[in-house]
Symmetry: C2
Subunit: 147 residues, 2 copies
Protein backbone atom coordinates (compact mmCIF):
# COMPACT_ATOMS: atom_id res chain seq x y z
CA UNK A 1 0.00 0.00 0.00
CA UNK A 2 1.38 3.36 -0.88
CA UNK A 3 0.16 5.76 1.72
CA UNK A 4 1.30 9.26 2.40
CA UNK A 5 4.53 9.61 4.31
CA UNK A 6 7.07 7.01 5.34
CA UNK A 7 7.71 5.64 8.76
CA UNK A 8 11.44 5.78 9.16
CA UNK A 9 12.96 4.66 12.36
CA UNK A 10 15.45 6.67 14.33
CA UNK A 11 17.53 7.50 16.08
CA UNK A 12 19.64 4.50 15.20
CA UNK A 13 18.55 4.80 11.59
CA UNK A 14 16.93 2.16 9.47
CA UNK A 15 17.88 -1.27 10.56
CA UNK A 16 18.28 -2.65 7.09
CA UNK A 17 21.69 -2.22 5.58
CA UNK A 18 22.04 -0.55 2.21
CA UNK A 19 22.03 -2.93 -0.71
CA UNK A 20 25.22 -3.70 -2.49
CA UNK A 21 24.12 -1.55 -5.40
CA UNK A 22 25.27 1.47 -3.45
CA UNK A 23 22.07 3.44 -3.87
CA UNK A 24 19.71 4.51 -1.13
CA UNK A 25 18.19 1.33 -0.02
CA UNK A 26 14.50 0.59 -0.10
CA UNK A 27 12.97 -1.47 2.53
CA UNK A 28 10.53 -4.32 2.45
CA UNK A 29 7.31 -3.58 4.22
CA UNK A 30 5.67 -6.59 5.76
CA UNK A 31 1.99 -6.56 6.65
CA UNK A 32 2.79 -5.74 10.24
CA UNK A 33 2.84 -2.05 9.50
CA UNK A 34 -0.73 -1.12 8.63
CA UNK A 35 -2.09 -4.61 8.46
CA UNK A 36 -3.35 -6.68 5.58
CA UNK A 37 -4.98 -4.57 2.87
CA UNK A 38 -4.59 -6.25 -0.48
CA UNK A 39 -7.08 -9.03 0.12
CA UNK A 40 -9.96 -6.85 1.37
CA UNK A 41 -9.22 -4.29 -1.32
CA UNK A 42 -9.41 -7.00 -3.96
CA UNK A 43 -12.68 -8.28 -2.53
CA UNK A 44 -14.16 -4.79 -2.52
CA UNK A 45 -13.21 -4.25 -6.15
CA UNK A 46 -14.65 -7.62 -7.14
CA UNK A 47 -17.90 -6.84 -5.32
CA UNK A 48 -18.15 -3.68 -7.41
CA UNK A 49 -17.73 -5.67 -10.59
CA UNK A 50 -16.00 -8.76 -11.91
CA UNK A 51 -12.92 -7.71 -13.87
CA UNK A 52 -9.43 -8.67 -14.88
CA UNK A 53 -6.45 -8.12 -12.62
CA UNK A 54 -5.12 -4.93 -14.10
CA UNK A 55 -8.57 -3.34 -14.04
CA UNK A 56 -9.15 -4.45 -10.45
CA UNK A 57 -6.10 -2.52 -9.39
CA UNK A 58 -7.60 0.60 -10.94
CA UNK A 59 -10.99 -0.14 -9.40
CA UNK A 60 -9.36 -0.29 -5.96
CA UNK A 61 -7.92 3.16 -6.48
CA UNK A 62 -11.33 4.37 -7.70
CA UNK A 63 -13.51 3.07 -4.88
CA UNK A 64 -11.09 4.36 -2.24
CA UNK A 65 -10.72 7.78 -3.86
CA UNK A 66 -7.06 7.17 -4.50
CA UNK A 67 -6.32 6.39 -0.87
CA UNK A 68 -5.35 2.77 -1.52
CA UNK A 69 -2.85 1.73 -4.18
CA UNK A 70 -1.95 -1.95 -4.21
CA UNK A 71 1.18 -3.58 -5.55
CA UNK A 72 0.35 -5.31 -8.86
CA UNK A 73 2.47 -8.33 -8.05
CA UNK A 74 0.85 -8.73 -4.68
CA UNK A 75 -2.63 -8.35 -6.14
CA UNK A 76 -2.10 -11.18 -8.64
CA UNK A 77 -0.70 -13.34 -5.88
CA UNK A 78 -3.72 -12.71 -3.67
CA UNK A 79 -6.13 -13.39 -6.54
CA UNK A 80 -4.44 -16.72 -7.19
CA UNK A 81 -4.58 -17.70 -3.55
CA UNK A 82 -8.24 -16.67 -3.26
CA UNK A 83 -8.98 -18.86 -6.25
CA UNK A 84 -7.06 -21.76 -4.73
CA UNK A 85 -9.15 -21.35 -1.59
CA UNK A 86 -12.45 -21.19 -3.44
CA UNK A 87 -13.36 -17.53 -2.93
CA UNK A 88 -12.83 -16.50 -6.54
CA UNK A 89 -13.07 -18.04 -9.97
CA UNK A 90 -11.22 -16.95 -13.07
CA UNK A 91 -10.94 -17.70 -16.75
CA UNK A 92 -8.87 -16.43 -19.62
CA UNK A 93 -10.84 -13.89 -21.64
CA UNK A 94 -11.61 -14.68 -25.24
CA UNK A 95 -10.85 -12.25 -28.03
CA UNK A 96 -9.84 -8.71 -27.36
CA UNK A 97 -6.54 -7.15 -28.23
CA UNK A 98 -3.40 -6.69 -26.20
CA UNK A 99 -1.93 -9.10 -23.69
CA UNK A 100 -4.05 -12.02 -22.56
CA UNK A 101 -6.48 -11.12 -19.79
CA UNK A 102 -7.77 -13.20 -16.94
CA UNK A 103 -11.28 -12.32 -15.73
CA UNK A 104 -12.04 -12.79 -12.04
CA UNK A 105 -15.27 -12.96 -10.09
CA UNK A 106 -16.36 -13.80 -6.57
CA UNK A 107 -17.97 -17.01 -5.50
CA UNK A 108 -20.71 -17.15 -2.87
CA UNK A 109 -18.00 -18.00 -0.34
CA UNK A 110 -16.08 -15.00 -1.56
CA UNK A 111 -19.01 -12.77 -0.69
CA UNK A 112 -19.06 -14.29 2.79
CA UNK A 113 -15.34 -13.68 3.14
CA UNK A 114 -15.98 -10.05 2.21
CA UNK A 115 -18.47 -9.86 5.09
CA UNK A 116 -15.84 -11.30 7.41
CA UNK A 117 -13.45 -8.60 6.29
CA UNK A 118 -15.92 -5.86 7.16
CA UNK A 119 -16.00 -7.19 10.69
CA UNK A 120 -12.24 -7.49 10.84
CA UNK A 121 -11.66 -4.02 9.48
CA UNK A 122 -14.11 -2.46 11.94
CA UNK A 123 -12.21 -4.26 14.68
CA UNK A 124 -8.90 -2.96 13.37
CA UNK A 125 -10.36 0.55 13.17
CA UNK A 126 -11.59 0.29 16.76
CA UNK A 127 -8.30 -1.06 18.16
CA UNK A 128 -6.29 1.50 16.21
CA UNK A 129 -8.39 4.23 17.81
CA UNK A 130 -8.04 2.71 21.28
CA UNK A 131 -4.26 2.58 20.97
CA UNK A 132 -3.95 6.03 19.41
CA UNK A 133 -6.14 7.43 22.21
CA UNK A 134 -4.06 5.65 24.85
CA UNK A 135 -0.92 7.19 23.39
CA UNK A 136 -2.51 10.62 23.02
CA UNK A 137 -3.81 10.60 26.59
CA UNK A 138 -0.27 10.12 27.86
CA UNK A 139 1.23 12.88 25.80
CA UNK A 140 -1.23 15.66 26.63
CA UNK A 141 0.51 18.60 28.11
CA UNK A 142 -0.68 20.04 31.42
CA UNK A 143 -2.31 23.02 29.76
CA UNK A 144 -4.18 20.76 27.38
CA UNK A 145 -2.03 21.38 24.34
CA UNK A 146 -1.27 18.29 22.35
CA UNK A 147 2.16 17.44 21.02
Amino acid sequence: MKTAGGFGRGPAGNRSAAHGAGRPCCRRGGGGGLGAFVEPAALAALLAKPAHGYDLRKEISLITDGQVEVDAGGLYRVLRRLEDEGFVTSAWAEGGTGPQRRDYQLTAEGRELAQDWITRLRERERLSRILADALSAQTEEPDGRNG
Copy 2:
Protein backbone atom coordinates in the same frame (compact mmCIF):
# COMPACT_ATOMS: atom_id res chain seq x y z
CA MET B 1 -3.02 -9.57 20.43
CA LYS B 2 -5.90 -11.55 21.76
CA THR B 3 -9.02 -10.00 20.38
CA ALA B 4 -12.52 -11.36 20.35
CA GLY B 5 -13.25 -13.95 17.72
CA GLY B 6 -10.97 -15.75 15.33
CA PHE B 7 -10.70 -15.30 11.62
CA GLY B 8 -10.80 -18.76 10.20
CA ARG B 9 -10.63 -19.22 6.49
CA GLY B 10 -13.00 -21.32 4.49
CA PRO B 11 -14.19 -22.96 2.50
CA ALA B 12 -10.97 -24.82 1.88
CA GLY B 13 -10.17 -24.73 5.58
CA ASN B 14 -7.11 -23.44 7.28
CA ARG B 15 -4.12 -23.60 5.06
CA SER B 16 -1.72 -24.70 7.73
CA ALA B 17 -1.38 -28.41 8.17
CA ALA B 18 -1.84 -29.98 11.59
CA HIS B 19 1.34 -30.46 13.53
CA GLY B 20 2.89 -33.86 13.85
CA ALA B 21 1.75 -33.97 17.46
CA GLY B 22 -1.65 -35.01 16.23
CA ARG B 23 -3.58 -32.44 18.18
CA PRO B 24 -5.65 -29.61 16.78
CA CYS B 25 -3.13 -27.30 15.38
CA CYS B 26 -2.72 -23.70 16.38
CA ARG B 27 -1.72 -21.21 13.84
CA ARG B 28 0.86 -18.48 13.84
CA GLY B 29 -0.52 -15.03 13.33
CA GLY B 30 1.87 -12.65 11.67
CA GLY B 31 1.39 -8.91 11.89
CA GLY B 32 -0.49 -8.82 8.63
CA GLY B 33 -3.74 -9.54 10.35
CA LEU B 34 -4.53 -6.45 12.41
CA GLY B 35 -1.18 -4.78 12.04
CA ALA B 36 1.58 -4.08 14.48
CA PHE B 37 0.32 -3.54 18.03
CA VAL B 38 2.95 -4.62 20.51
CA GLU B 39 5.31 -1.72 19.95
CA PRO B 40 2.75 1.10 20.23
CA ALA B 41 1.13 -0.64 23.18
CA ALA B 42 4.50 -0.86 24.93
CA LEU B 43 5.16 2.82 24.25
CA ALA B 44 1.75 3.81 25.62
CA ALA B 45 2.38 1.84 28.81
CA LEU B 46 5.82 3.37 29.24
CA LEU B 47 4.42 6.87 28.74
CA ALA B 48 1.99 6.16 31.58
CA LYS B 49 4.87 5.17 33.85
CA PRO B 50 8.26 3.52 33.69
CA ALA B 51 7.97 -0.10 34.84
CA HIS B 52 9.33 -3.58 34.48
CA GLY B 53 8.23 -5.87 31.70
CA TYR B 54 5.71 -7.96 33.52
CA ASP B 55 4.02 -4.84 34.91
CA LEU B 56 3.98 -3.18 31.48
CA ARG B 57 1.95 -6.05 30.15
CA LYS B 58 -0.63 -5.42 32.86
CA GLU B 59 -0.50 -1.68 32.24
CA ILE B 60 -1.31 -2.26 28.58
CA SER B 61 -4.40 -4.22 29.56
CA LEU B 62 -5.34 -1.48 32.02
CA ILE B 63 -5.02 1.55 29.73
CA THR B 64 -6.92 -0.21 26.94
CA ASP B 65 -9.70 -1.42 29.24
CA GLY B 66 -8.78 -5.02 28.59
CA GLN B 67 -9.06 -4.63 24.82
CA VAL B 68 -5.37 -5.28 24.14
CA GLU B 69 -3.49 -8.26 25.55
CA VAL B 70 0.05 -8.67 24.33
CA ASP B 71 2.12 -11.82 24.18
CA ALA B 72 4.72 -11.71 26.98
CA GLY B 73 7.46 -13.14 24.78
CA GLY B 74 6.77 -10.63 22.09
CA LEU B 75 6.70 -7.75 24.57
CA TYR B 76 10.16 -8.57 25.95
CA ARG B 77 11.46 -8.89 22.40
CA VAL B 78 10.08 -5.49 21.43
CA LEU B 79 11.48 -3.88 24.59
CA ARG B 80 14.93 -5.24 23.79
CA ARG B 81 14.77 -4.02 20.21
CA LEU B 82 13.54 -0.58 21.31
CA GLU B 83 16.51 -0.42 23.68
CA ASP B 84 18.89 -1.47 20.91
CA GLU B 85 17.49 1.33 18.76
CA GLY B 86 17.74 3.96 21.48
CA PHE B 87 14.06 4.50 22.26
CA VAL B 88 14.17 2.90 25.71
CA THR B 89 16.67 2.39 28.51
CA SER B 90 16.60 -0.34 31.11
CA ALA B 91 18.45 -1.52 34.18
CA TRP B 92 18.17 -4.43 36.56
CA ALA B 93 16.25 -3.40 39.64
CA GLU B 94 18.02 -3.53 42.99
CA GLY B 95 16.57 -5.31 45.98
CA GLY B 96 13.01 -6.54 46.05
CA THR B 97 11.90 -10.14 46.27
CA GLY B 98 11.01 -12.62 43.59
CA PRO B 99 12.65 -13.05 40.20
CA GLN B 100 15.02 -10.36 39.04
CA ARG B 101 13.24 -7.41 37.45
CA ARG B 102 14.33 -5.14 34.67
CA ASP B 103 12.99 -1.57 34.81
CA TYR B 104 12.30 0.20 31.53
CA GLN B 105 11.77 3.82 30.67
CA LEU B 106 11.47 5.92 27.54
CA THR B 107 14.16 8.15 26.14
CA ALA B 108 13.40 11.50 24.50
CA GLU B 109 13.56 9.70 21.16
CA GLY B 110 11.13 7.15 22.50
CA ARG B 111 8.64 9.91 23.20
CA GLU B 112 9.05 11.08 19.63
CA LEU B 113 8.50 7.56 18.36
CA ALA B 114 5.30 7.48 20.39
CA GLN B 115 4.18 10.62 18.54
CA ASP B 116 4.95 8.91 15.26
CA TRP B 117 2.81 5.99 16.30
CA ILE B 118 -0.15 8.25 17.00
CA THR B 119 0.06 9.45 13.42
CA ARG B 120 0.43 5.95 12.09
CA LEU B 121 -2.44 4.57 14.11
CA ARG B 122 -4.76 7.39 13.02
CA GLU B 123 -3.78 6.56 9.45
CA ARG B 124 -4.53 2.88 10.02
CA GLU B 125 -7.85 3.78 11.59
CA ARG B 126 -8.71 5.96 8.60
CA LEU B 127 -7.72 3.38 5.99
CA SER B 128 -9.50 0.61 7.85
CA ARG B 129 -12.66 2.71 7.79
CA ILE B 130 -12.24 3.52 4.09
CA LEU B 131 -11.86 -0.15 3.21
CA ALA B 132 -14.68 -1.31 5.48
CA ASP B 133 -16.93 1.36 3.96
CA ALA B 134 -15.93 0.32 0.44
CA LEU B 135 -16.85 -3.27 1.26
CA SER B 136 -20.07 -2.28 3.00
CA ALA B 137 -21.16 -0.06 0.12
CA GLN B 138 -20.93 -3.02 -2.23
CA THR B 139 -22.88 -5.39 -0.05
CA GLU B 140 -25.90 -3.19 0.65
CA GLU B 141 -29.03 -4.83 -0.54
CA PRO B 142 -31.46 -2.91 -2.76
CA ASP B 143 -33.89 -2.32 0.10
CA GLY B 144 -31.15 -0.93 2.28
CA ARG B 145 -30.73 -3.96 4.51
CA ASN B 146 -27.13 -4.73 5.32
CA GLY B 147 -25.69 -8.22 5.38
